[in-house]
């Protein structure tokens, strides 16, 4: 297969001299020979293939020029606004507070005002239906170039949803999960009005936690009301000043916030780059804390299962090898991977056929695959007991809404097959099938696709900000809802569209999307891949 970008693949490049110890059976294998990552070498039991095609030089140059033009025009329009020639749509400071220190630095909002505003219609599109395989989008128009929106009252019905994180299709407004949630709501109400440590610890919560622990294959688990807060409020409980956090450069904001709030020292390793991680680990242990040279109290490695903007899967087997060798702790955020990968939907640990106990802190969210809300942390009983006593979420936040907890319980049981059906397992299989088909077809069409072949998060590189906006609009025109992202969520030149494949998508839906994308791809000239021709000859898409 083509589309391999050497720079992103430290293993594929080979690491002469570095010997990794496979922890389970003590077999020592050299990674130096693992040139072809498709072969199950080293700690990998399954083929592991990720691609990050290099940005074509010409496209990079044009993209920078695009930003240059946008910036120039931004300055021009700011000038016109300051002279009162152009109408200023910005909300203004209160007259009474004009002499206060300005709340915003003017340049802070330059990008928002002059770039984001032009593309703003691609985000926050309101919908008015269940975010399933298809959804209804409320049509809105702007009379002042995206400064204000007005609803036309029309509903764009049956828009194919390629944007929601509905991996297993549990975003449903009928069926057993919904019925169970409705029933629980009748008994418990929607809120809780108290914290877990006070009087908000419902039996539903305990049931959910027990089930989650069983699902994950860990001793115990704890559930929290919000995925974001699971990270931001629990990492501070686990590490303190004097501890070191090694964080992947592309980790989610919630992890970054949690790490910052903890007071621990944070060091960043290159995305999914084990060489970089090992180097940091060695340096940290050998040199200790800066200035004092005291040894670190703990080292916590924080990684995500699937990176939501790259579509890459963490090189977990190697991370575990390193974590063992250097006695670090591992925090795995499975927000996008739980339910979405692995033969039984148990996330990346399952995907790599590993033991969940290899990971110290198994974190994940219920928002995505389970079609609910909230997050969990699983691990040893000692860990969970500690969190029950020390988590900010347990002491200061209202506990999870009971119908939401029930939705998780029902969908999780479905995935586990505890409901007596094979619906869950079928959906897992369907998701993988959809994912591989969709990714393969997109590559054959000549798009630059990032990430792992088995990752349902499919980023499609568009590079240019203007094309990014046009792509989102053209797709919506064709009744397909896609997510486009640009700077600052990505690097400045790597603006992209992101698709989330769902088990709820049928082949017909995917084919419709692909057909329209082929057209839009030609229209906008975004089929940048240089591997197109050879692949068309060799690969027949499989469904």
């Amino acid at each position: 297969m083509g589309g391999k970008m050497p720079g992103h693949d430290p293993i594929a490049n080979g690491r002469p001299g570095l010997v990794l110890h496979s922890g389970r059976n003590g077999v020592v294998k050299s990674q130096a020979g693992a040139k072809e990552e498709d072969s199950p070498h080293g700690p990998y039991k399954v083929p592991f293939h990720e691609s990050f095609e290099e940005t074509p030089m010409m496209v990079a140059v044009i993209t920078y020029m695009g930003y240059g033009v946008l910036t120039l025009f931004g300055y021009l329009r700011d000038f016109l606004r300051s002279r009162g020639i152009e109408h200023c749509h910005n909300a203004m400071e209160r007259e009474e507070q004009k002499d206060f220190v300005p709340l915003y630095q003017d340049f802070e909002n330059f990008y928002t005002r002059n770039v984001y505003m032009r593309l703003r219609d691609n985000w926050n599109r309101p919908i008015c239906s269940v975010p399933g395989a298809c959804f209804d989008v409320m049509e809105r128009v702007s009379d002042d170039y995206n400064w204000n929106f007005r609803f036309t009252g029309n509903i764009l019905q049956g828009v194919i949803n390629m944007g929601s994180y509905n991996y297993l299709g549990f975003a449903e407004n009928k069926g057993p999960c919904m019925e169970a949630a409705a029933e629980v709501m009748q008994t418990y109400g929607v809120g809780v009005c108290s914290t877990r440590q006070e009087i908000g610890n419902l039996d539903k919560h305990e049931e959910l936690e027990e089930l989650t622990a069983k699902f994950l294959g860990v001793e115990a688990a704890m559930a929290f009301g919000m995925g974001f807060a699971t990270n931001s409020m629990n990492i501070p409980a686990l590490v303190k000043k004097g501890c070191l956090i090694l964080s992947d450069e592309l980790n989610h904001v919630s992890l970054v916030l949690g790490a910052r709030l903890s007071g621990a020292t944070i060091r960043i390793f290159k995305h999914n780059n084990m060489k970089s991680l090992e180097q940091l680990l060695r340096e940290a242990i050998v040199h200790g804390q800066p200035r004092t040279h005291r040894p670190w109290k703990k080292i916590l490695i924080i990684v995500e299962g699937i990176y939501s903007m790259e579509g890459s899967i963490v090189r977990l087997p190697e991370v575990v090898v390193l974590k063992r060798k250097y006695k670090a702790y591992l925090y795995l955020d499975e927000a996008h991977s739980i339910g979405a990968v692995g033969p039984t939907g148990r996330g990346v640990v399952d995907y790599f056929g590993m033991d969940p106990r290899d990971v110290d802190i198994m974190m994940g969210t219920f928002t995505k695959s389970f079609g609910a809300a909230g997050g969990y942390i699983g691990g040893s009983k000692a860990l969970v007991d500690f969190l029950r006593a020390n988590s900010h979420s347990a002491a200061y936040a209202t506990s999870m809404s009971p119908p939401v907890a029930q939705q998780i319980i029902s969908s999780m049981k479905c995935i586990m097959g505890d409901d007596g059906t094979t619906i869950g397992q079928d959906r897992i299989t369907q998701l993988l099938r959809n994912t591989r088909y969709f990714r393969q077809r997109l590559r054959n069409l000549g798009f630059v696709i990032y990430g792992n072949d088995d990752s349902p998060v499919v980023p499609l590189l568009i590079y240019l900000p203007a094309k990014t906006g046009a792509f989102g609009r053209e797709m919506l025109k064709r009744r397909i809802g896609v997510v486009v992202v640009g700077f600052p969520a990505t690097t400045i030149i790597e603006s992209r569209a992101r698709f989330c494949v769902s088990a709820a998508h049928t082949r017909e839906m995917l084919d419709t999307v692909l057909k329209e994308m082929d057209e839009v791809g030609d229209l906008l000239n975004v089929k940048y891949s240089r591997h197109r021709r050879q692949q068309q000859l060799t690969e027949e898409p499989v469904y």
Partner: protein
């Protein structure tokens, strides 16, 4: 010396012109000179030839034959005496003549080159009695057979005694001239210039005669009493003029060519100035070893500075060997991830079965609930449940995405609009989780370098927001505005010292409407007065006052009759009064809109499930429809406040209008653990008596100012007067059982 010759006599004024014309035709006799006659004519010596030719020539010269007038403009005269011409043959002519004669003598010698005349020297340098001919001269091997005979002839023709031939200057550092001596025993020559005598050997040193002017200029400098350094002294081209004419006190003459050095010292002696010159022989580049080392060291330092220095390098330490590193890695033992034997006070949660409404089943025992923050009793409202159910049937449970990526539902927009209109603000923004509203809002505005004044009793999510903002936090004593003013004045004094900085440092005051940790009400009117005096912005957290205070439940601003615009940002959860999940912020669009891109908990988190949103919408509708519930709630608050007064050994914290009250030990012991245990025992006793109350939980180590342990009582508007009094009585008896023993 004179001779006789045919002469052409013309007027003297034309003589020059005619002579030129004659010379061109070869009729002028070069042996003689033109003679000026006394009658104003001139006689030009000519070579005789056909007279008829003369007419044409002279006509051309402007001379007419005018025999009629008797005066001739020109005439020819035979045998006129002329002085001989002063012309002497040039050395080159002599050379040609001399060589021709040699060649005549050696007619039998090998084939002579046809261009032999061109091989004769055309340029030569003359130094004294030595001439240096150029390289191209006598280039053919043909000349080699003649030997000294030829060279003698050449020296004679050139009027010298010695002869040398220029070669190519050697490409060595000295620029040694490749001069070969052809005739003579040595190459030493002497030359005098500007009263200075230079002596050197042409074979080893160069002397450029063309620099004479430059040397003259150097000689004109006045260097009296000065020390001059001649970096490239040579044989003393400039050293000597500077010494002899410029009267320099001392000249340091650097030179590395040993031949030049020899002649330099000779010249200095000859000119009698050697006592004022110090010769520094040798190559400047041949520095001593210590010098080289020093230079190398400096270069390394510069390279280090340029490429390997950073202002702060935490990892820059001594290099260890691989084995040493491995040993350190082997030796390092981290602390356990979590303490092996935690001693947490709240490890075992009480399990609630079913809804925690007015009555709650705690650990299988039904109790009257005075611990949930369900102030309006909306938790069990069938109307809210029905609204949530219809929402569930339409949208399902989860939103499967953040607001930006198709996680915005119509109900979210409706709720935001509803909240904004109810609070009479321009805009509202909802968060999916109560604590994340304020903890995301604060760092969206307050940045590093800004100053935030915070009440010491603010709740932990606010403290987390302050920590995330990395602003400079100044804590003022709980509800003590005098202390706040003092801090503000300190800040103002700082600002006066550094007005440039003060122009960009934003100032915020963060307070709670009713403090979760104390139950006290914030003195908002005084705070607003301070605001306009000190130009700070107020962030008000209303989790316990929204849907509680005010005639229509709009919170603290309504309670005090303050204009809502006077508070910059109002933030609250919807988890208490509204009995759903989530939080919101409201205020002017200028402020709130910023959070849509900068509120981390808003942008990067899945949005609030629609069923919970619909529940909040319904709850707001109920509030609007039945505002009298707030009056009732306040009465219940007052009643509880009064009922729990005067319990021995316990003190009551909180305002009479507050829906939460803190019951603390009147005389706490030194041990926090013991106090907690005492209060826990009271809580447990109450539970046995059918009243569910709870300790106000906090994580002591994470609180900036840990509140002292307390039991937090919460009022539910649905509690009857009797139930409240009963609960108070149960508490009183439990307390007396545990505290008066």
């Amino acid at each position: 010396m004179a001779g006789k010759c045919l002469a052409l006599v013309v007027p003297a004024s034309l003589a020059q012109r005619v002579r030129t014309m004659l010379q061109q035709r070869g009729w002028f006799n070069p042996r003689f000179r033109v003679v000026r006659n006394e009658d104003g004519s001139a006689s030009i010596p000519v070579i005789s030839c056909d007279v008829s030719d003369w007419f044409a020539l002279l006509k051309e010269a402007g001379l007419e034959t005018n025999k009629t007038l008797g005066t001739l403009t020109w005439r020819l005269a035979e045998d006129i005496e002329f002085p001989l011409s002063r012309h002497t043959p040039s050395p080159h002519e002599l050379l040609v003549k001399a060589i021709s004669s040699i060649l005549e003598l050696h007619k039998d010698s090998p084939e002579r080159p046809p261009d032999w005349r061109d091989q004769l020297p055309r340029r030569w340098e003359r130094h004294g009695d030595l001439a240096i001919i150029d390289q191209q001269a006598f280039a053919s091997p043909f000349w080699d057979s003649f030997g000294p005979e030829l060279w003698t002839a050449v020296t004679k023709a050139l009027g010298v005694r010695r002869l040398a031939k220029q070669g190519r200057v050697q490409p060595d550092g000295y620029r040694t001239p490749a001069v070969t001596l052809l005739l003579g025993s040595d190459g030493v020559v002497e030359r005098r210039e500007n009263g200075i005598s230079y002596t050197w050997d042409v074979r080893t040193c160069m002397f450029s005669a063309g620099n004479a002017h430059e040397k003259q200029r150097a000689a004109m400098w006045d260097c009296t009493g000065e020390t001059v350094c001649d970096m490239y002294a040579g044989i003393g081209y400039f050293t000597l003029p500077v010494l002899v004419h410029s009267r320099a006190k001392l000249v340091l003459a650097c030179e590395w060519n040993p031949n030049a050095l020899h002649w330099l010292s000779v010249n200095l002696q000859q000119n009698g100035v050697s006592n004022r010159c110090r010769i520094l022989p040798g190559d400047n580049r041949k520095a001593p070893a210590y010098h080289l080392l020093l230079e190398a060291f400096l270069i390394i330092c510069i390279i280090r500075l340029l490429f390997f220095s950073k202002s702060y390098r935490p990892l820059d330490r001594t290099q260890l060997t691989q084995a040493e590193e491995e040993e350190l890695i082997r030796e390092w033992q981290p602390e356990p991830l979590v303490p092996a034997h935690p001693s947490p006070p709240y490890l075992n949660y009480r399990v609630v079965s079913g809804a925690a409404g007015k009555f709650v089943t705690v650990d299988n025992r039904e109790c009257l609930n005075l611990s949930s923050l369900n102030f309006l009793g909306f938790l069990e409202s069938p109307r809210i449940k029905a609204a949530a159910l219809s929402s569930l049937r339409k949208y399902g449970v989860g939103t499967c995405g953040p607001r930006g990526f198709y996680g915005t539902f119509d109900v979210h927009l409706q709720l935001e609009e509803k909240l904004a209109s109810m609070m009479a603000t321009q805009e509202a923004i909802i968060y999916a989780y109560g604590p994340s509203a304020i903890s995301s809002a604060i760092p969206a505005y307050a940045k590093r370098g800004d100053v935030v004044f915070a009440d010491m009793a603010v709740n932990l999510p606010m403290q987390q927001g302050l920590a995330a903002s990395r602003s400079n936090v100044r804590w003022f004593r709980h509800n003590d505005l005098d202390h706040l003013e003092m801090l503000l004045q300190e800040q103002a004094a700082d600002d006066r010292k550094n007005p440039k900085k003060a122009r960009v440092v934003r100032r915020f005051v963060v307070v709670e409407g009713i403090y979760l940790n104390t139950g006290n009400v914030c003195p908002l009117p005084e705070l607003v007065q301070l605001k306009y005096r000190h130009n700070f912005r107020i962030f008000l957290e209303e989790s316990l006052s929204f849907g509680v205070l005010g005639d229509t439940g709009r919170g603290l601003t309504e309670h005090f009759g303050i204009k809502v615009e006077d508070v910059d940002l109002i933030c609250s959860t919807m988890e208490n009064s509204l009995a759903t999940i989530g939080g919101f912020c409201c205020g002017r669009s200028f402020i709130i809109d910023h959070q849509r891109l900068s509120g981390q908990g808003y942008c990067f988190s899945a949005s609030l499930p629609p069923l919970l949103t619909s529940a909040a919408l319904e709850a707001l509708d109920m509030i609007e429809e039945k505002p009298e519930m707030f009056k009732e709630l306040r009465e219940k608050c007052r009643l509880l406040y009064d009922s729990v007064q005067g319990i021995p050994e316990l003190s009551v914290g909180g305002a009479p209008i507050s829906p939460v009250l803190h019951i603390r030990l009147a005389e706490p012991s030194q041990s926090r653990e013991r106090d907690i245990a005492t209060l826990e025992a009271i809580v447990e006793s109450c539970a046995q008596e059918g009243v569910a109350i709870t300790l106000a939980r906090c994580i002591e180590k994470d609180e900036v100012f840990p509140p002292s342990p307390s039991i937090r009582l919460a009022v539910n508007v649905e509690l009857t007067q009797e139930e409240i009094q009963k609960a108070a009585a149960v508490l009183r008896s439990a307390a007396s059982r545990h505290l008066l023993e």
